[in-house]
Point group: C2
Chain length 248, copies 2
DNA sequence: AGAATTTGTCTATTGATATAGGCAACTATA
DNA sequence: TATAGTTGCCTATATCAATAGACAAATTCT
């Protein structure tokens, strides 16, 4: 559908080598190359994109630096990384169970936590008063040692006092909520957008500048419909796709 | 959450002015500026981002060219464009009804149509034999005269012969399917990703190079679960967000 | 009227980006 | 062992991107 051959734009603020690197990443993520497959030779890529061979080399150098490609003098350039993870989103969105079968290990690392007054937006989502205390967790989702998500989550501080300790200990939202008597919960709403990664995303998700992140803003509720959690999650678009499950 | 103040990265293949333009667009889409509100003065933005005033001017010039901002000598620079459209996605995703209340007019324009053999991916999705004839429609969704989506859609050619004429006439998928006896249908699956817009997206969606598009790949089915439509849609991330409806 | 603020324009300089060509180094294969 | 194919590295040149400073032009406020 969107192969290697799409064209390249000049004078738009994005350098040619970055655009070409993006296309190659995309092709890999689409599954156009098998693992360890050889990329076409530099001279062929240069002709395909209508640029100089050196420009292609800049793109490849960036991806080698990133650990996506490996270049071997005399032999060729080879693909190291694999297809995108497919992250399911639905009424029962859970980090760990969602990636089952695609990765052997996954958990959520707590980067930091703090208590702050609720902004209007968060207060509305959680059904509490504006300015009431909320606990804010900064987390990173990891699967097989790779960062796959970066999230900021808010809980009502009164109801979920100490949840940051539970998160640090269990590495799981679901397990942490159990300690507060919540054995099941549902995804109430999700809003989805995309943007360029900012400095924080770059560091936390181990991305190269210029990368794109998918952003979800979600509210989780109890079975009774009571809001318990408000979260903004960022996913690296080059490594993750979101799959919207139908019924579930 | 992601305000104007996030930092800027150097030497990454994306020019500073483009990064700043992206952040301003994002802030507008987030609703940080009211319609016709004044942007902070160039000198203030320059200090905030840690760049020269001329660099900020390049970013503003790009957005003025794009029609997002209007600069007036001696007065300031003003926001023209409005908040993002929120496009709902769920079991009953429909183009027209989904945007009701947000726009006064919307329709789907048929750009071109063709008949081609089904690729493996499309054949699997539609439950037909690989190589069987399928009708391919290239369409653009428009709301109040602005392009909000660009889609490629496939139908089984045997069952839906002539659907391109129905689309051209009605400007609606739902209305066209009615002519083939389908009075209701459901969204079976949706896969979501994001990437930089390619040349075709740029032209069809009236975007500037470097823009980001949200990509959905979806299968629609009858109430009996029979697949009828396979579609890849692209949405300009700066103008559209996707809202995942809970129950529906 | 005058001062302050803000956008518009000009010149100049530096570093990054992209093109061009040539040749060395390494690998695989005929 | 040649030979073709591929990556690695060098020099050189032109254009774009970013910084710097100065001043003009338009608007707003005192």
């Amino acid at each position: 559908m969107t192969g290697l051959a799409s064209s390249i734009e000049r004078r738009n603020g994005v350098s040619l080598w970055r655009q070409i690197a993006d296309r190659i990443l995309q092709a890999i993520a689409n599954g156009d190359f098998a693992q360890n497959a050889a990329l076409p030779p530099e001279i062929v890529l240069a002709e395909r994109y209508g640029v100089n061979r050196h420009t292609v080399r800049s793109a490849i150098a960036a991806l080698v630096q990133e650990g996506v490609l490996k270049a071997e003098q005399g032999r060729g350039t080879f693909v190291l990384s694999r297809k995108r993870l497919s992250y399911p989103i639905g009424a029962r969105t859970r980090f760990s169970t969602g990636l089952q079968g695609q990765t052997s290990e996954r958990h959520i690392a707590l980067l930091s936590s703090s208590t702050e007054p609720a902004s209007r937006r968060i207060a509305e989502a959680l059904g509490i008063a504006k300015g009431a205390a909320v606990i804010r967790l900064e987390t990173r989702g990891e699967a097989d040692g790779h960062a796959v998500s970066r999230a900021t989550t808010w809980f009502d501080a009164k109801r979920f006092a100490g949840i940051e300790a539970a998160m640090a200990e269990t590495g799981s939202i679901t397990a942490s909520l159990k300690r507060f008597g919540i054995i099941d919960y549902l995804r109430h709403s999700t809003v989805l957008s995309a943007r360029h990664a900012d400095a924080d995303d770059l560091a936390a998700l181990d991305l190269q500048p210029g990368a794109i992140v998918l952003v979800t803003i979600a509210v989780n509720v109890t079975l009774d419909g009571e809001p318990i959690q408000f979260a903004e999650s960022r996913f690296p678009a080059e490594r993750v796709e979101l799959r919207l499950s139908a019924g579930d």
